[in-house]
Subunit: 415 residues, 2 copies
């Protein structure tokens, strides 16, 4: 009997999902494995955290997304490692045999071994964390309204974002807008001079990936939106109610959001494979694991190189790598071989909030309102399904017209 | 100095919110207190539980809703009791002085002292519980897909709703539709004959509040939607993986949703006041607490009577009582007195799902598609704000056209 080869894809993010889709017509069966039952549109996660969007607007059930793929199925399970000799993916649902394996489990926050940061900051890497930030921001505002201690009130109204990359810039801008455009109306007695949104970056610039003119534009835009930007500032320790910057004073703060470090998910370490920087798995130019030709690594988890540098942890990289791995596997099933992966850079962008973004696309640079229209267009086109696009568009239009945040409710599922 | 009298309203549900709104022009200051920062549109909570709506679509921040009320403020706090002598509402934010107090803390599940039911069933009284049901239904489906034990798979695919009132009927109908119209498409190998949605009711009828012809129509509609209805059946005990009906066999079940009992919130007992049936506070015909003329009780918490019977725990009762309490307080501030409360019954309705509802309005009886159109119209008109109405309408239209549930994602906020 000629069994159809089984491709197991670990991770249903942009890389894994794209890979599954690209295998639609290949003579294989595909099993997507993820610890969540949904695919997350991560570029808009900060909008859930800032009470603009509901979780259902940026998350789609994996099973719904793979319905058109007749050769694909899904398993919700946590991934613990790989038994390369026996060709099994190890999960909390038991070992899963594979003929080809695609590792695409993405990245997580990196605290650089600093326990105080790991314990006392909030991350923004998944939906649970986004909702936790939203609950915390709103709860602190509520608490600040009824505190009679002025110092405590100012502490509750101090929101710190560590890390001046795209995520940190977007998050700081969004929190500042939430406060200045929306919560100000909910809290009539609020003195906005008591509110601080602080963005802390260890480098001398925000958005180091961008050209200097766009870094400057982003910095000015952040300041116009009321964000205090501290450059050349490294977070040393974080406590329950404050943080300390190296060589600086203690800053009382209600919450610290950590976007300053990112590394590959733990699966890299668990496999015992050779790791590159950021705990990313060292791969051949084909994205295969050296010595394990049936195993591909894609997305943030892959230590794929462009010349000497590792490829950035970006969605286009993950999606292109997903397509590449699928094409290689289809070739290999037909007794062919894997080709080298070549990344085509479509450009990068980051938004600072309402009416302001920076975009750097093949030598063209955009900022301000024009940058924002480009950002908005690209994101609307890319949101996974039509329905999300429509609802998200309505929410955005609503906020744009009425300066409102529709979903600023504090809620958690009871366990 | 002539201090403005302070009206404290405990609870921001339909009763409390209506009362605050009705006091808009009264010469008083109003403080709404609730343990959540949102007002919940409870009639659609079962749609969150069945993955049709997102939390933000049926919940609005209280602060947003009271923005137009210049004399109102909000405090998020849990309510523990009342010190009538000192005129203070006791909360986890300390005691809150009042000149007038309106108790409107609503109702909770009643397990009639049965520990096994309290421990092993899921309620549907607040948003956290609705999300917990959603997570559980979706997780059981995922688990059932990968179970090789046939008995365990059938257990995971058995969903029991206890209680044949409007909430139970709506919930059972919605789960059955979620499974038969949507999840069936997500799980290609699912044998729908293995799925059981069971509605258990101790009385000989579902929807006992309705006339016999509408009860019959609802029963037929439930059965057409694939719900097994067990009448004259009383839940005796519930275990981790099964339940037992009095005089019957053990039924293996993945989950049991409890809608069979409801009683007033604990504040009734905590005040030491005289309680009527369902732990509701006994009140004068004016809705004042006997001996405490500045304290009103409204909504599900109030043991208000219509003739001999207690008024039903319904939103129109709570809203009319809220308006009544506001009018009485305005009179009393102007040295007048309180009048007796008179409930005007606008009719009752319940939906069984897509295309089917029953409505009983002033001697007119509607069922099937006509009943459903009436149900839909009334609920759309009543959803609190324009924006919710629009988004909810889109979601409903989407589901109606495409038989889909947009938000069947399993998510919980990280603490």
């Amino acid at each position: 009997m000629n069994q159809v080869p089984r491709v197991v894809i670990a991770g249903a993010g942009f890389g894994g999902l794209t890979c599954a889709r690209a295998l639609k017509r290949a003579p294989v069966e595909v099993l997507l494995v993820d610890r969540n039952n949904y695919h997350l549109f991560t570029p808009l996660l900060y909008q859930v955290a800032s009470a603009l969007l509901d979780p259902g607007e940026i998350a789609r059930p994996v099973r719904q997304l793979i319905r058109p793929l007749r050769n694909a199925d899904f398993l919700q399970a946590s991934i613990n490692g790989v038994d390369f000799a026996a060709r099994r993916l190890l999960t909390d649902h038991g070992p899963i045999p594979y003929d080809y394996l695609v590792l695409a489990t993405g990245a997580q926050s990196d605290y650089f071994g600093n326990r105080s940061i790991a314990e006392h900051t909030l991350g923004l890497k998944d939906l649970d964390e986004g909702l936790a930030i939203r609950n915390r921001v709103l709860s602190q505002f509520e608490a600040s309204r009824w505190t009679t201690d002025a110092a405590e009130r100012r502490r509750l109204l101090t929101f710190v974002v560590a890390g001046g990359g795209p995520t940190g810039v977007e998050m700081a801008g969004a929190i500042s807008e939430l406060i200045r455009l929306v919560l100000r109306k909910d809290y009539r007695d609020l003195d906005t001079n008591e509110v601080r949104v602080v963005l802390i970056e260890a480098a001398p610039h925000v958005l180091v990936q961008f050209v200097p003119s766009l870094r400057q534009a982003a910095l000015r835009s952040l300041e116009r939106k009321g964000v205090e930007v501290m450059l050349n500032a490294k977070v040393e320790t974080v406590g329950a109610g404050s943080l300390k910057v190296a060589g600086g004073d203690e800053i009382p703060a209600g919450m610290v959001i950590w976007t300053a470090g990112v590394k590959a998910s733990d699966i890299g370490g668990a496999t015992g494979l050779q790791l590159a920087r950021q705990a990313r798995i060292t791969v051949d130019p084909t994205l295969q694991v050296p010595g394990h030709p049936v195993v591909f690594v894609i997305g943030d988890l892959a230590g794929a190189k462009d010349g000497e540098a590792l490829l950035p942890m970006l969605i286009p990289v993950a999606m292109q790598a997903g397509k590449h791995a699928a094409a290689c596997i289809a070739e290999m099933v037909g007794r062919g071989g894997a080709r080298a992966f070549q990344y085509k850079d479509p450009g990068i962008m980051a938004t600072i909030g309402r009416n302001s973004a920076v975009a750097q696309i093949r030598g063209f640079h955009f900022s301000g309102f024009v940058g924002w229209v480009i950002w908005l267009t690209v994101h609307l086109i890319n949101i996974v399904s039509f329905r999300s696009r429509l609802v998200v568009l309505i929410n955005w239009a609503w906020e744009y017209l009425f300066y409102d945040r529709p979903v600023r409710i504090i809620v958690r599922a009871r366990d």
